[in-house]
Structures are given as structure tokens and as C-alpha cells.
Amino acid sequence: MFRKQECVAMLLAGGQGSRLGVLTKGLAKPAVPYGGKYRIIDFPLSNCVNSGIETVGVLTQYQPLVLNEYIGNGQPWDLDSMHGGVRVLPPYQRSKGGDWYKGTANAIYQNTAYIERYDPDYVVVLSGDHIYKMDYSKMLAYHKDNNADCTIAVLEVPMEEASRFGILNTNPDNSIYEFDEKPAVPKSNKASMGIYIFNWKKLKKYLEEDEADPNSSNDFGKNILPAMLNAGERMFAYPFEGYWKDVGTIDSLWEANMDLLDPNVELDLSDTSWRIYGRNQGMPPHYIASTANVQNSIITEGCNIYGTIDFSVIFSGVTVAQNAIVRDSIVMPGSVIEEGAIVQYAIISENVTVKSGAVIGKRPEDMDNIDDWGVAVVGDGVTVSSNAVVAPKEMIDKDI
């Protein structure tokens, strides 16, 4: 028995996130740790629950083990409910063969049956690679007020950066008349945030037509949205104000973590009216020793800090030994920084051991040639041996 839901969310979580390199070697991008105790997917999932959307399909494909485990029965987000809740939806075999998800649109198309069970009026399509807090119910109200067929959330970006985004050109009433994917000369600064609301019946029709077209790449941005616009459907841009960050690259992931340390950045995770939920590791509060020196940082449960930490984000169960220095860096769960090691401008992935005296990354001001500078990355489970050096921009996934 399935209760009708006004709105069902479909979360695209199958992407590899290849630009994150070694960080997504063993897990899908939405499962990448963020902000001390979260994973990226906590943001769209928490937004859904806080917005009153309690039926969420998560479309997985690339390296789903960690993501599946993490979502589990959805209990940390209150999505373990009798009606709806969270459901992980991998591609599957049918009587006449089966396919991987060929594109974002095809992923939704293949799960038409899942959506139809809830007989929804609207479908929200989300992606699992952005950090933001957003009330989807306000966007849905906007969608209904405009009697729209499709509403796309947009963020006004600085004009000089607009050519990096998918840009929507709109009329004064915010109705969309043109899509401009990464335009060389942008006409507007309204960037698509990858958040769509559709009338389900309309979307279903376009998905079916798209599937019948053998030349289509079955993608929302490339196929579905242009087809709807060409057919004259009512499409609106929903202006969003607030913090939003795509964490698709090493630099942007590093920046998005550092943004949590900047009091001027709008992303407030301490707001109890819009909590971001995540799976808890059951660790005790963290310990800061007499030898420690901690400033401008965020640190979570299970850590033992004996060294120096400045401008860093420290995840659960991390140990930083005496005389070790961690600056401007991100240290993910379970990693150990041993005595005298120096970690600067780096992302240390999960369960890494940095042996004593090792040096990872460098400050930009210490570089001879600033073009060689970048964030250093150490992949999951790697041991960096004593006195080894990991250069800026370097990415390692094997012991050195």
C-alpha cells in the first residue's frame, strides 16, 4: 500500500566525481566527507526532510558500497518511515535486458515505476554534489504560484564567473527564454544550481520521448530542458539567495570546508531550526591536551589533539600528536598525524597515517613558483612514511 505523496525527490548520486581524483577512488562523490562530521549527501537529504519531503529516491551507480551503508535505512535523517522514506535505487536487470544509467534523465526514466507508486504531482530532481541549505517547499510554492511545468533554482553569480556555469536567460517575470551552457559572453548571471521541480505528468512525457530518441544523450541539461523550452512549456527560474557551493574539484572541496571557518560566510550549521543530520560515529567528545594549540578550526568527536591546529577542519577520531602542525588543511575520519609532521594546505583522506617528520603540502608564500602551488591530497588508508614529502598539488593513493 502506498500513500499518495504530493512531491517526491529524486537524488542523482551515481556520478563518479572524477575531478576529485583519489578522494572518489573507492566511493561515490556524494559520500565524500565534508565539514568535520558530514558527508556531502547529508545536505540534500537534510534539506528534503526539513522541507517536508519525506520520499526520496537515491540513484546510485558508481562505487555504491560506502554510500549504501551510510544511507542504510535512513534513520539519521528520519527517513525510515512507513510511507516513503529513503530508497536506494541502483540500475537493474529487466526481462528484456538491462542498462546502466545512460544519463541523468535516463536514471529517472528507469525509475518511473518507483515514482508512480506514490502518484506524485511534483518531482524534485537534486544532485548529490552541492553544499547548501535550501527550503524546497518555498521553491515548490513558487512553482505552483507560477503554474509552471518546470522550475529551476538559480543563483546570481559574479558576471565574470558566469561563463563557468549553465546560465539561464530570463524575462522580467523570471520565465526562461534561453539556456546558455557555459557561454563565452554571458547575457545574464543566473546560474543553474542543478535543482529542478517538474510536474510529474509533464516530465514523464518528456522522459518517454527522450528515451525513444536514439541520438539523445539522455541528460536533463542537454536534452530534457531544451526540449521542454522548445515546446513552449512554462519554465521559470527560482532565485535562491544564500550559500551554495559545487564541491566537484579538489580546490572547491577545500574551499567549501574552509568557508566553515569564515564568520562572514552565510553557511551556518549551528542553526537548530535547519539542522544538517548525519550518521553518528558514537565517539566521546574530543580532547585537547595541554601541549595543544588550537585556533580558527572546527573539531569533532573522538579526536585527540596534542599538536598545533590552525585554520583546519578535523573530522572524527583523528589524532594529532605533540609537535605536529596542521594548518589550512582538512583531515578526514580516523587519520593519525604523528609527532613533528607538518600538514599544510592539504586534504588528508580517511584512515591515513602521516608518520613523524613527514611534510605534506606547502604554504603559497613559501613557493618559489606560485604556479606550482595547489592543495596536496593523500588518499584513503595511505601511510606517508617518516620524513617523506608530498609536494603541493600532488595526489597520492599509495604508501610512500
Binding site: P284, P285, H286, V294
Partner: protein, 371 residues
Amino acid sequence: MRGNDVVGLIFANMHDEQIHELTGIRTMASVPFGGRYRFIDFSLSSMVNSGITKVGVITKSNYQSLMDHLGSGKAWDLSRKRDGLIILPPFGQGNALYHDRVEALKGIFDFLYHCNENHVLMADCDIIANIDYSPIIRKHVEENNDVTIAYKYDKLPKKRKDNMVLSLDSTGKITNIDIDPPIEGSCNFGLNIYVVKKQYLIRIIENAITRSRMSFLRDCIQANLNSGKFMAYPIDTYVGVIQSLESYFKITMDLLNQEVREQLFPIGRPVYTKVRDDMPAVYGLNSHVTNSLIADGCIIDGEVENSVLFRGVKVGKGAKVSNSIIIQGSDIGDNCNLNYVITDKNVVIKEARTLMGYDTYPVFISKNSVV
């Protein structure tokens, strides 16, 4: 059979009077401890980690905060279709409020009759320890004991009521029990943790009640020592016994010792608690923290030393918090100076206040107070 043939029983209100400052508005079980826990989390998690899948929590009074904390038992994996967490409020005809363990157990006879398990593990909430009960249970069953009592060899906790001191022979059999003996120095004292054959427990309780003998320790344990098989089991890991605000303070400060933390929070045997989903602790530009335990959700702009800060505590700019326990949600204003202070939940200390206690007499600020 699921589980390990043992049903757990936790007495939520025993020892309330020992630490009345913190139990005036709650049960002993729900006294906040260690930055993010409540006392009951230790007994409950120890049981769950030892393979016990059914736990009854016996309550008496002021158990609102306890119910809120436990919920359905999900945080301890005790929200189950079969077994799980069962709250046992006072029950019986006439004046249903029990006075001693004997009456409390009599009140839950129905529950005990309906349990399929053949053994009962009883624990209170005044013991801070992460105990693996499985070797105790195994020994109890293998040796066919009637009663197995867990004990600690250490200095006798001073202000504790009904201290039970055990004399043992070389096999661990209890040969004598002294109650509140005038002992200085170390001895084997009982932790009020018992593994008992269920039928034996019901029999000794019924016997005591028919003779209007109402002390569990004296009339059920001490009196039967020679008629049943009573064995003892030593606990080698850290045990903190809470018997006063002073010992609450001392045991909390023990958490700043890494060895104690490793014994209380070993990897693979976590202490579970209700999760609050706070963001990680934030350290500001001028924060200076040394030798302290800090929970998630704290925002620290001042100085903190030798202290334990619970979830969601704020320490303002220029404030100095030393040797203190700041319980959940308290707000320490700018330029305050606190030394040897315990604040209960949601206390507000306004700007530039100075509060000083002493290590044997910490200042206590009650819940929701504004200083």
C-alpha cells in the same frame, strides 16, 4: 535463542539522594556526564555490547528526562520487534512507589515471569564504567552459580550508602559480606552489579517479602550467602562510583586522563547516547584551550583549561573557564572568570561575572539559572 539467555535490568532511581543537586529534577539515570552522555548510557551500552538484547529500565519518579533520553531505544539498537528496551514504571496496588530494590523487583514480577531468559543482570546508574559483561555471564552459567557479584578492588567509596565488602576464597566464592565496615584502604567492594538465576531471584525476593524484610542487600544477599552459590567477579578496568557532587566532579575530571578515556571508550565497544546532530566544535580566533574535553556544538572564543564542556556550550571572548564542568547549552558571557564551577543545563552566566569554588567544594549552578 536470540541474545545470550540474559535479561538486563537497570535501576534508574537508585542512589538519587547521593547527588541531590543534579537529581532534583531528574533520575540518577539521566544525570548528564562526560560531555555528551547520561549515566545510564554506560550501563545500557555495556549490556548491549555484551550481547544482551532485552533490557528493562525500572523507574520511580522524575523520569520525564529519562523517557526523553531513551525514546524507543533506537540509539542503543534496542528498538526491536522482539525484545528491546522496556520501561518499567512503578506498578502495583495502593501506594505503588517502591522504597527499596526488593519492592521494586516485586513490582516487576509479571515482567520477569514473562521473560524467557533464565538469568537476570542487574545494574544501577551510579557506576561509570564500560564493562564487558560476557565473561561474567559465561562464568556464571558455566559454574552454575545462583548469584555472581561484580566487584572492584580499590579504596572504599566514602559517602556511599550500603557499601558491600566481599571476602573471597581462592576460587572466587564469597565467604562473607560486610556492609559499611569501617575500612581504610583498599578492599573488594561490590558494584551492585549482579547476575542472578531468574528463578533464584524470584524466590529470594518472595522469601524476603513474606517476612517483611525489605533490604535487598541484607535480607536477600547477605542472609542467603550460605544457602546458595554466590561467586564474585573482579572488574579490572576503570570504575568510577558516583556518591556525591564531589565525586561527580572528580570522576568527570578523570576523563582528561587518556588511559581512563581508552578504558571508558574503547574502540569496538562504544558508549551510545541520544544523538543531537550538533555541528563540530568551533574554535575562534582568540580561543585558547588546554587539557579539556570538548563536545560538538561548542563555540569557543575564550580560554578553557582543565574542564569538560558539554554539547552546545558557548564561551565568550576574554572569558576564562578553569577546572569546571559546563553542562549542555550553557552560555558563558564575555570576560567571565569561572574556577571550580559546575553549571547544570542551559545556565546563562552574563558578562564579566566571576564564580569561584574549590576542588573539594565546586560551586553548583542549577538548571536554567541566570547569573
